[in-house]
Each structure stands twice: as structure tokens, then as C-alpha cells.
């Protein structure tokens, strides 16, 4: 019989780890990780960014270096990069404009109610594309992206996510799942959302294994498909090896 081991809900490196720049796993490391993910979602191109800060982020961001961490993440730095400290001068060097906007009044979308540590990134890319990304820092450096360009998502970086927007009609979902099936990709979680009086639907798929850009291209070709976004799993272990 194979031995199995109890592990509970924490992994070893949730407890001893992460390696991070201080002072706070939620307000610094998590903030940097959110910035990094936002940058990836904006196709690694950020010309201008507004950080709207909610809850505890709005109150204590300066003392915890949350501002430096968010900006460093947006510039592509990892939560353990010592460059976090010099994020402001780094942004100047890279010609990235930034504004911090602590939000203390209730917003129409109610972002302040999702989690005490919430940030909204309004990003303009080099070619003028606009991204609206909302994320929460959950503690221990763990994060979750909860909204991408107005679509509610649940992306932690631990498994790949596919978000589609398409005309609402029969057969489209079957077409998407059959393309995934051909690549033997299992769907762990699925949500379809249609706004009332809308002709389009949003679909959100959490996948059990990585998919290639080719799959995205195939899905893009489905008649009636408007937009496909693939959020690849984020593997930080490899870049951790570069710490001297």
C-alpha cells in the first residue's frame, strides 16, 4: 500500500516562506505580487498607472511601503527583489507615470467591500490600450485578482484561467470545451455570466493544466467569439533560484 501523508490546508512553504522584502506579507509582498500580475495582464506594457487603494491599503500604505511594492510589481519586480525600495526612481528611469489614489468613500462597484486590502489598477499601455484590474492581498503574500476589465474573475496565479466574451448563442461553449478536450485539458471550475438585456456572455474557466497560445488562437476563431484572455499559471520558483 502506498503511504499517504496528511498535510492540512497549508503547504510547507506557506509556513516557512515566502522569501520577501518586508515589512508586511499582506501589505508589501502581496502588493508587489498583485502589481506583477497586473503588469502581466496588461501584456507587460505599462505607460501610465493609477492605483486606487481601498480599506487598510488606503490607510497604511505609506508606512508599509505598499506604494513602493505596488509600483515595483508594475515595473516587473518580484516580491523578493530588493529593488522594491527604489521603485519611485526606477519608475522615473523607465518613464512610467503613476498616481496613488486612496479611496475612502464608497464606490459604485463596491470594491471596498471585497477585502480589507484591495487595489484597483487603471493601466494605460504603451499603445494606448486601457486595463482595469482589481486585486486583493489575502495575507501571507497570497493574492487574488477579482476583476479584469469589468469581468469578475478568481485568479490566484496557481492555476491557469481562461476568460472569454462571446455572443450568446447555442454551441459556443461546446466549441470551447471541445478545443480544450482535444488538448486533454480538464476544467476545474466554470462560470457563465450573461448581463440582463445583453447579447454577449462572459465565461470564466479555471483549468487543471497549462494550455498553449495555440489553444487560445483556436478559441479566438470560433464564430461569435469577441475576446479571449488566457492567464497563465505563475511559477515563481524558477526566478527564486536567481537570488544570490
Amino acid at each position: 500500500m502506498n503511504a499517504t501523508y496528511m498535510t492540512g490546508s497549508y503547504s510547507v512553504f506557506d509556513i516557512t516562506g515566502p522569501i520577501m522584502v518586508g515589512p508586511s506579507s499582506s501589505h508589501t509582498a502581496g502588493a508587489a505580487r498583485l502589481g506583477k500580475i497586473a503588469r502581466i495582464l496588461a501584456h507587460n506594457s505599462v505607460k501610465k498607472v493609477t492605483f486606487q487603494l481601498f480599506g487598510s491599503f488606503a490607510q497604511t500604505y505609506k508606512g508599509h511601503g505598499t506604494d513602493k511594492a505596488l509600483l515595483a510589481g508594475i515595473l516587473g519586480l518580484n516580491p523578493w527583489d530588493l529593488g522594491l525600495r527604489d521603485a519611485f526612481s526606477l519608475a522615473e528611469k523607465q518613464n512610467v507615470e503613476y498616481i496613488f489614489e486612496p479611496v475612502t468613500k464608497p464606490t459604485q462597484q463596491g470594491w471596498e467591500n471585497y477585502h480589507p486590502n484591495t487595489v484597483r489598477f487603471l493601466i494605460t499601455s504603451e499603445n494606448g490600450e486601457v486595463f482595469d484590474i482589481v486585486g486583493c492581498s489575502l495575507g501571507g503574500g497570497k493574492v487574488r485578482i477579482i476583476s479584469l476589465n469589468g469581468i469578475l474573475v478568481n485568479f490566484t496565479g496557481e492555476s491557469p484561467i481562461l476568460v472569454t466574451r462571446h455572443y450568446d448563442g447555442p454551441g459556443i461553449i461546446a466549441a470551447i470545451t471541445s478545443i480544450l478536450y482535444q488538448d486533454k485539458v480538464n476544467i476545474g471550475n466554470m462560470r457563465v455570466d450573461r448581463k440582463r438585456h445583453s447579447t454577449t456572455a462572459d465565461m470564466y474557466l479555471e483549468l487543471d493544466s497549462d494550455v498553449t497560445e495555440r489553444v487560445v488562437e483556436e478559441i479566438q476563431k470560433i464564430p461569435g467569439m469577441l475576446n479571449v484572455i488566457l492567464l497563465q499559471r505563475i511559477n515563481e520558483d524558477q526566478s527564486l533560484n536567481n537570488i544570490e
Binding site: 496528511m6 492540512g8 497549508y10 510547507v12 512553504f13 506579507s25 509582498a29 508606512g63
Partner: protein, 295 residues
């Protein structure tokens, strides 16, 4: 399958004839799909970063990001160097290393959260002060970290590791408990002794509130790390002598969680109670943020 309590894990270790460290390593392999070598190598990386942080504040004074604190690790290091310390080599070096880790953290330096950033000095200080003074191998120190991690996993599972949920006992308390178990293991004690050490340390930290001045991980966190490390060493020393905790580790964890639930929100990391609202704490708040705290 049995629940993830230490009493169950220890039974399972006996049945499989493996150590607690080995059990935790195998569980991680099974869970993450990594090989044993990869898991051990990654823990080695943690030890390296811990060691840098434990020494980073000793040779020159460092200031925190907020400017509120700094220089204690350097000051204490100088004092030890003059031969003035009342404590022995192990204890005094644990104190300076814990101060260093916590000051490095507050200065936006690189640390290992263990289990949290606010309590990042305790496990490294205990393991490295004992490891270095007793010339333990890197491998031994890495194994001790797996024992510490197992203790932390059980505390996280059945109680909490967040000051916002359980106060400082959940962060520095958990860290001291983890560190005590690690030191017992490092000195060749049994897994049962390690758990007695863990229980004794956590018992001493029960009820400790989280009341940071200005809501920042500095006052009183930095010095609590130093004293948390000393709690770990004293507890480990008793356990190595064969002294047992009358209350088993798992039950101490349950008590810690219950106490955390009984703490008012003001004393759970909100910066709105205890030291944070002393006359000096409030004055620091006003200086730092340019406006008085609205209570």
C-alpha cells in the same frame, strides 16, 4: 484519514517508522509534485535568506522604512562584542539575530516570513544561534526547519497565524513554538520532546496582544521577536532536559485559538489599542501621518 493534529501525525510517524521532519517532507512532495531533493533544496534557500537577514543589521545601524525605529541590533551587537552581555553566547546571539531579522524586515530588506513577516526573526535566531554555536551541519539545520514548519502547519490548521485573527500569540507565539521544536530537533531530542518544547513555548505566549504603534510592524514587534527567540530557547532547553508539558501541544493550540477569539478587535493588529494608543504611540502616529488618529 485522521485529522491533521500532532498527536495523529506522531502516531503515523511511529507506524511508518519515520521522523516528523521526514513526514512533513514526504507530505510536501506528495502535495506539490516536487521531488524530495527539490523540497530540501528549497528549504535550504530559506535558511540562506534567514542567515543573511539575521546578520544584516549587526555591522551597521539600519533604519526602518517609516523612520520610526532602527539600530537596536547594531547596538546590541556592539554590547556583546564588549563582553558586557549578561547572557551566554547562544542566548545573546539569538537576541541580536532576531533583532536583525526584524529590523531588516522593517527596512524593506529581504526576509523569510516564518510564519509571518512580523515574526520573521524568531525561528532563524533560535536555529542559527544554536546551529552555529554547536557547529551543526547545514543539513541538520534544514531538517530542524521542517520540524518547525510541521508545528506551524498544525497551528495554522487548527488555530491561526494572523495577528488580525489571534493577536501576537498567533504570530510571535506560533514562531516561538516552531522555534522551540526546531531547537530540540537540532540538539538531537526526540520528536516527542520537540512537541513538549513547542507546547511550553506557546503556553508562555498565550494571550499576547497585537497592538502595533501606527499599525506598523515595528513597535513592539522588533523586540518581541528577540524575546520570542529567548522563550523558544528556554522552552527547548527544558524539553531537552526531559521536562514535559502537562498540557499536550494540540490542546495548547486549541486554547490559543479560543483566546484569540476572545481578544477584542482593538488588540488584533488594528493599531487601535494597547501600546498603539499610549500617549507616545499616538504622538508618533500624528508625526508620521500628519494627522491625529481618529479613535
Amino acid at each position: 484519514m485522521a485529522e491533521f493534529w500532532m498527536s495523529e501525525i506522531i502516531k503515523e510517524c511511529a507506524r511508518q517508522r519515520i521522523s516528523l521532519a521526514e513526514y512533513i517532507i514526504r507530505g510536501e512532495c506528495e502535495n506539490s509534485g516536487s521531488t524530495r531533493e527539490q523540497v530540501i533544496e528549497k528549504m535550504g534557500k530559506m535558511l540562506d535568506v534567514m542567515s543573511s537577514a539575521a546578520n544584516g543589521g549587526l555591522e551597521a545601524p539600519i533604519r526602518s522604512n517609516s523612520g520610526l525605529t532602527g539600530g537596536a541590533a547594531y547596538q546590541y551587537h556592539q554590547y556583546i562584542g564588549q563582553g558586557s552581555s549578561l547572557l551566554g553566547t547562544v542566548m545573546s546571539s539569538a537576541v541580536e539575530m532576531a533583532l536583525s531579522c526584524s529590523e531588516v524586515n522593517a527596512a524593506m530588506g529581504r526576509i523569510v516570513a516564518c510564519p509571518t513577516a512580523g515574526s520573521c526573526g524568531i525561528v532563524p535566531a533560535a536555529v542559527l544561534s544554536v546551529g552555529v554555536s554547536h557547529q551543526k551541519s547545514r543539513e541538520d539545520m534544514v531538517m530542524a526547519l521542517f520540524v518547525a514548519t510541521g508545528v506551524g502547519m498544525v497551528i495554522g490548521e487548527h488555530a491561526t497565524l494572523a495577528g488580525a485573527d489571534g493577536g501576537c500569540q498567533a504570530e510571535c507565539g506560533a514562531a516561538a513554538s516552531m522555534a522551540a521544536a526546531a531547537v530540540v530537533n537540532l540538539m538531537g531530542g526526540s520528536d516527542e520532546q520537540a512537541l513538549h518544547g513547542a507546547a511550553i513555548a506557546l503556553k508562555n505566549m498565550l494571550g499576547l496582544v497585537c497592538d502595533p504603534v501606527c499599525g506598523l510592524v515595528e513597535i513592539p514587534c522588533i523586540k518581541r521577536n528577540a524575546i520570542g527567540a529567548s522563550t523558544a530557547l528556554v522552552s527547548a532547553d527544558m524539553a531537552l532536559a526531559g521536562v514535559q508539558s502537562y498540557i499536550p501541544f494540540d490542546e495548547v493550540v486549541t486554547a490559543m485559538y479560543a483566546i484569540g477569539k476572545q481578544l477584542p478587535a482593538e488588540l488584533r493588529e488594528t493599531g487601535r489599542g494597547g501600546l498603539a494608543v499610549t500617549k507616545t504611540g499616538l504622538a508618533m502616529y500624528e508625526t508620521l501621518f500628519g494627522t491625529p488618529m481618529s479613535l
